[in-house]
Each structure stands twice: as structure tokens, then as C-alpha cells.
Amino acid sequence: MRRTLVAGLAVAALALTACTTDTPSEQAPGGDGAEQEQTADGEWFVRANYEHQLAQRDMKPEGPADQPWLQAIEPKMADTTQFKQDGKTLCFSNASVSNPWRVTGWITMQQQVNVLKQSGDIGEFRVSDAADDDNQQISDIQAFVDAGDCNAIIISPSTTATLTPAVEAACASGVPVIVFDRGVNTDCMATFIHPIGGYAYGADAAEFLVDKLEPGSKVLALRILPGVDVLEHRWAAAQEIFGASDLELLGDEFTGGDGAQIKDIVTQYLQRGDVDGIWMDAGDGAVAAVEAFEDAGKDYPVMAGEDELSFMRKWKDTGMTAIAPVYSNFQWRTPILAAVQIWKGEQVPEEWVLPQSPITDKDRDDYLERNADMPSLHYAKFGGEDLPGFPEAWKDR
């Protein structure tokens, strides 16, 4: 036992010696947090951003209409010649593949990489997965930076604010950094790729309910979990719109995206009275909500789900009044293409805002047909139909 103690002391002593002999390495200073998107007390609603996103929905994106993943809204092109290089090692720090939306996107991304590998644009594609653990992802990013042989680092942050220092450190290493999906509170990266955003998503859904429901109708909001910015923005927008409407909000419940919980909660609300509309911040488990109405023998509600196929199929089968807001899944292709563009020194938008429009009953059947072979937890606007792996890669997961 004494020996372990001595060993422990030795380690400590070693650390101290190292401290005196080794110059502490220069570190990137942490973020100054000047661009915090939300205020410190956790308020999620920023009116300017909200209005901007709502406006962006109606703007015409620039770029090829048949390749929405290359389109951009209001692009402000940035020069990337400083990053021009021959290196071909692409590193990707993924937050996780812990939900079907991310799984779908991840497959699309891999297929896109395969294409570019064959064309010789990408050499090695290195991935680390943080399993939704922010600290793990910070380590993952640090590992890429320390390894020193990444020619570009793509980051899909697991939480916005928390990854900021790590992303800044990555930027400081001189490697082009591409962030997509959720953002970070810095603009040091070469480009930040995302669809219009959470406000637009939440507004699409809420506006549809306001539009289709009689004044005084009752709406239930189902949410996955608190504290995630992209989801909180959706809810903030919905609250804004419902607040200005004549709809009665029965409540908002966290479900963890678990079908059994969703069904239970909706069933309980139905026991206590009618529910005319369902607003969801993400479509996971939407079918369970619909089934709750079926099993209770009630009329279908007006519903905002997501472009997840199980919901869209249910929507078609039942003929209910619904909308599928979209958080463009095809965005998973864009960072790969952007990396290659940056290596070539081509200009890319500083902030690459991808189009994001909901699926309505007009184009629903079209999307269902295109994705006819796809599994039920697949996302309709995945944007990989032109990739060589289609459809097997998405079908046989």
C-alpha cells in the first residue's frame, strides 16, 4: 500500500518537474463569448434572429435548384485561398448518431465521401463520435488538432455554447474548420452550414396550426427535452405565434421522443378533454401521438410532425390535416463538398444557410413515392437520391 502512495507522489513530482522544465505550450485564448446567442439566464428568444429566419423562408436561395444542399440563402462569400492545399485528410467530429435523423444524415455523408474518395478529392476520412457527450467531443476535437494531420475539420457540435472554446482552439491551429447543424458562438470557422433554423421550423408548424384550426381550439405541444438550442428555438417561435393567436395551449410536455410516453401523455390529455391540434418540436414518435387519438376513438387532430417517413405514411393513410416541417437532412452532404471547395481555394459562404421548407399535402405524395423503399425512420428530405449508393445504403442499414 505504501508503494502505491509513493507511486502517486512520484507522478505528482513528475508533473511538478515537468512544470519547471517544460515551457507551457501556447494556448489559444478562450472565447470571449461576445456573440452569445442566448442570454445568460437561458432565454431562448432573440427577436431579431426570429424575424430574420422567418424572412429567409421566403428568400430565393442562390445555387442549383436541383441540388438544394449546394444552395445558399443570402450568401456572403468568403475568401478561402489561405486554406488552399493538396492535403486530402478530412476529419469529422460527430456529436453522435443517437437518433434516426442523425443516422440518416450520417449515411448520406458517408455516401458523399465515397464519391469524392473515388474521384480522388478526399484521401482519408477520419471520424470520431462523441456519443452526445460534450466533454468527449472536446477531447475528440483536441485529438484531431493535436494529431496535426487533418487538412480540414468538420464539426457537428453536440451543444452550441459548450463546444465554442474547442472550436476556437481548432480554428487557431490554422486548419479550416467547418461547423454544421448546431452552431457555436464564434465566427472563426471557414464556414458554418445550417438550414434556416429552429425559429423557422417552429413557425412553420405553429403557423399551420393557427391557419387550419378554428379560433379557441386546443393545442398540445410535445417536446423532446429541454435545453437544446435547435429545439428551444422551435418552441420559442411556436410560443410567439400561439401567443398572438386565438388558440388555447393546453400544455407542453417533455417526452424524450419515446413513443410510449408520447402516447400515454396524449391519451391522458384526451381523457380530460378534446385536443384539436398537436405541435411537436421533432417528429420522433409522432405516429404514437396519432394512434392515441385512434385508440381513444377521437377525431384526428391537426398535426405538425416532421418529414420522418413513419409520420408521413400515417398522414397519407389517415388523410389527416397535417404538415411536415423539415430540418433539412441533406445538410449532411454540404460540409463534405464545402471542404473540397475550400481545399481548392474556391469561395464559400461565410454562413451557409441552406433552404428549409416544410412538406405539405401538395408535395407529400411525391416525397413518399421517392422514398417508397425506405425504412420508416428515414427522413424524406435526405437529399441523397443522386448518390451511387442509393437506395441500398439507406435501405439496408
Binding site: A15, V127, D134, G227
Partner: protein, 352 residues
């Protein structure tokens, strides 16, 4: 008569802590070979830094968890304490370097308070620690979900150095963790309360009869555990630059228990130590790094971790059985077949 016979010294020399470090060396060796086959070097600076960084956060949590497990208790609320403390630290500091000490103090006080509550619920109300700390975790979760709608607060860049800078290949956070580990070892080996933790975990009744205030010891262990989780929360804040409630879903509660047990500490308490826990944490960190370098599928990682944890603990258990077995008097004849179902379980059934 057997009182005066001495057992072979070898079995005592190879304690479980040594075994843990032997396992760590084994994992390092296998990892190094696998990485080398892929043309890498596991002991390159980048990889070393990566391993050490990964060990720091879990290191703090597992360090604290060791105290409670040694006492025969358990803390499932550490993840929530971490999350809460990261938020309290970050919001108190609010980006002002002058408020760093205040933030640290606030965290330590809150964490100690939660530990105190845990300890009192376990020792005074006699609620099974599994349920007590699970319940406490829920209480904190509710508070977090209600109060913080997302990441909040801001950590000044000076404090972020705790999470990001390093001395040579040794990250500051890991260095602090190692210092904490040394202090923890000293605490267990050189203070009365430390001694008494082994006693309470070994047999609460014996400890009580020896005049040890078992309740206080358990409370102290829970306070230390919560404080360690609080420091982990500070590290989280330093690394995130802000406080985040979502840390609680990252599974540090069960991971820390796994690390402690992997470090050779008996889950029922009374035997083990922090040196072993550090070994357990390092094993998990090395596995993570190696899996990352080898680009192991994230889901396969979970499978491998599960298998490694079970296998390691099975090996410890096997040794425990061997050590308890009586010394053979007659060596001749065929060796006793390893019974597939030793009908009489080894160990003390009485304390269950």
C-alpha cells in the same frame, strides 16, 4: 495453531491494485500493437495528451465515487451534481476573472451541501443509497430542467486554462486530478476518517462498536464524493466555457462506478482504494483513445466496454475465490476439478 502459521507472502504482494496496473499495462501493450499495425504510435504526444485528457473528468468523479463505495454506499447523483455545479460555477463567474474564486467557492459549498443531504438520507433515514441518490438525482434534474433552459453563464478565459492548457504532455486538468488522487490516497491512508471508511464498508456494526460514528463517516464520504463531482463540474465549465445541464445524460454515474470497480474496489465496500480507481479510469481512457484511433464504430465501442468491464471484474472475482480457498494439505492426486457451480458461495453472505 493456524494462528501462528504464515501464509505465502506472494499472494499478499500481488494485491488487487497491482493487478489493476498490470491490466492497464496489458491494455496499453495490446493497444500500442494495434495502433502500430495501423502505422500509428499510441505513445506519441498527441495520443498521450488525448488519453490523459480523457482521464481527467472521469478521474474526479470516480475518485469521489471511491469514497462512497468503500463505505458500502453508492452515488448515482454525481452526473446531476456535475451538471448543476458547472452551471453554478459558470453563472457565478459570469465571465469576470475576479469572480473565479467566488465561483469555485459557490460550487464547493453547493456540492458539499448535496453530499451532506445524500449522506444524511442514507445514514439517518436509512434509505438504500441506490434509491436515495437516484432520487436525489431526480430532484436535481427537475431543478436543472426548470431553472436552466440551456447552457448558461460564462467562464472567463483565465479559468478556461484549467480545461485547456497543459504542461508538456500533461494537461493541467489531469495534473490537478492526479494531485487530488494523491490527496485522496493520503486521506484514506493517513487520516482517521479515511481508516474509518474502510471500517464502515467492511462492517458498519464493527465500526459502530469501536466507537466510530458511522453516520458521520458515511456523510463525509458522500460530501467528498459530491465535492469531487463538483470539481468535475468546474472542469466541465472550464472546458465548455459555460455551464451545461445536459452533462447529466452522459452517463458519468454508471461510468464512475464501473471505473471504481474496475480499479479493484469491492462494490460491497471495505476493500480497495483510490490508486486502483485511477488505474480503472486510465484503462477506460486508454480504451477510448485506442478505439478512436482505430476508428471503431461508436456502437461497437459500447459493446467492447461492456465486455471489458465484465471480464475484468470476473478476473478479480476469480482471484478473490482463489485467495480465500484454503491451503491444500495434500498435493498428490489429480487436481480438484474446477467446479462449474461451487455450491457454497464464497464470501460473507451475512452482510447482504
Amino acid at each position: 495453531m493456524t494462528a501462528t502459521t504464515t501464509r505465502p507472502r506472494l499472494s499478499r504482494r500481488l494485491g488487487s491494485t497491482e493487478l489493476v496496473y498490470a491490466a492497464l499495462l496489458g491494455v496499453l501493450a495490446i493497444g500500442a500493437v494495434l495502433v502500430a499495425v495501423r502505422g500509428g504510435n499510441l505513445f506519441g504526444t498527441a495520443n498521450l495528451v488525448d488519453m490523459l485528457t480523457r482521464s481527467s473528468l472521469l478521474g474526479f468523479v470516480a475518485l469521489g465515487q471511491t469514497f462512497v463505495i468503500l463505505c458500502g454506499s453508492l452515488d448515482l447523483s454525481v452526473g446531476y451534481v456535475m451538471a448543476l455545479c458547472s452551471l453554478i460555477g459558470a453563472t457565478t463567474m459570469a465571465g469576470d476573472p475576479a469572480k473565479v474564486p467566488l465561483g469555485i467557492a459557490a460550487v464547493l459549498v453547493v456540492a458539499a451541501g448535496i453530499g451532506l443531504l445524500n449522506g444524511l438520507i442514507v445514514s439517518v433515514l436509512k434509505v438504500n443509497p441506490f434509491i436515495a441518490t437516484l432520487g436525489m438525482g431526480l430532484v436535481i434534474k427537475g431543478y436543472l430542467d426548470t431553472t436552466y433552459k440551456g447552457p448558461a453563464g460564462e467562464v472567463p478565459s483565465s479559468f478556461q486554462q484549467f480545461g485547456y492548457s497543459r504542461i508538456g504532455f500533461l494537461p493541467v486538468s489531469t495534473a490537478v486530478m492526479l494531485v487530488a488522487v494523491v490527496l485522496g490516497i493520503l486521506y484514506l491512508r493517513r487520516t482517521r476518517t479515511g481508516y474509518h471508511m474502510f471500517a464502515v464498508g467492511g462492517s458498519a456494526e464493527v465500526a459502530r462498536l469501536s466507537g466510530i460514528r458511522t453516520g458521520r463517516v458515511v456523510v463525509m464520504a458522500h460530501v467528498l464524493c459530491a465535492v469531487a463531482a463538483g470539481v468535475a463540474g468546474l472542469l466541465v465549465a472550464a472546458r465548455f466555457g459555460t455551464g451545461s445541464a445536459l452533462v447529466y445524460s452522459s452517463g458519468y454515474d454508471l461510468d464512475s462506478i464501473a471505473a471504481v470497480v474496475l480499479g479493484g474496489t469491492l462494490l460491497m465496500g471495505g476493500r480497495g482504494g483510490i490508486a486502483g480507481t485511477l488505474g480503472g479510469v486510465l484503462i477506460l481512457a486508454v480504451l477510448d483513445t485506442v478505439f478512436n484511433i482505430l476508428q471503431v464504430d461508436p456502437f461497437f465501442k459500447d459493446v467492447l466496454r461492456g465486455v471489458v468491464i465484465i471480464a475484468a471484474v470476473a478476473i478479480y472475482a476469480r482471484r478473490q475465490i482463489d485467495r480465500k480457498a484454503s491451503r491444500p494439505r495434500f498435493g498428490n492426486g489429480p487436481p480438484p476439478e474446477p467446479a462449474p457451480d461451487p455450491p457454497v458461495p464464497v464470501g460473507q453472505g451475512a452482510d447482504r
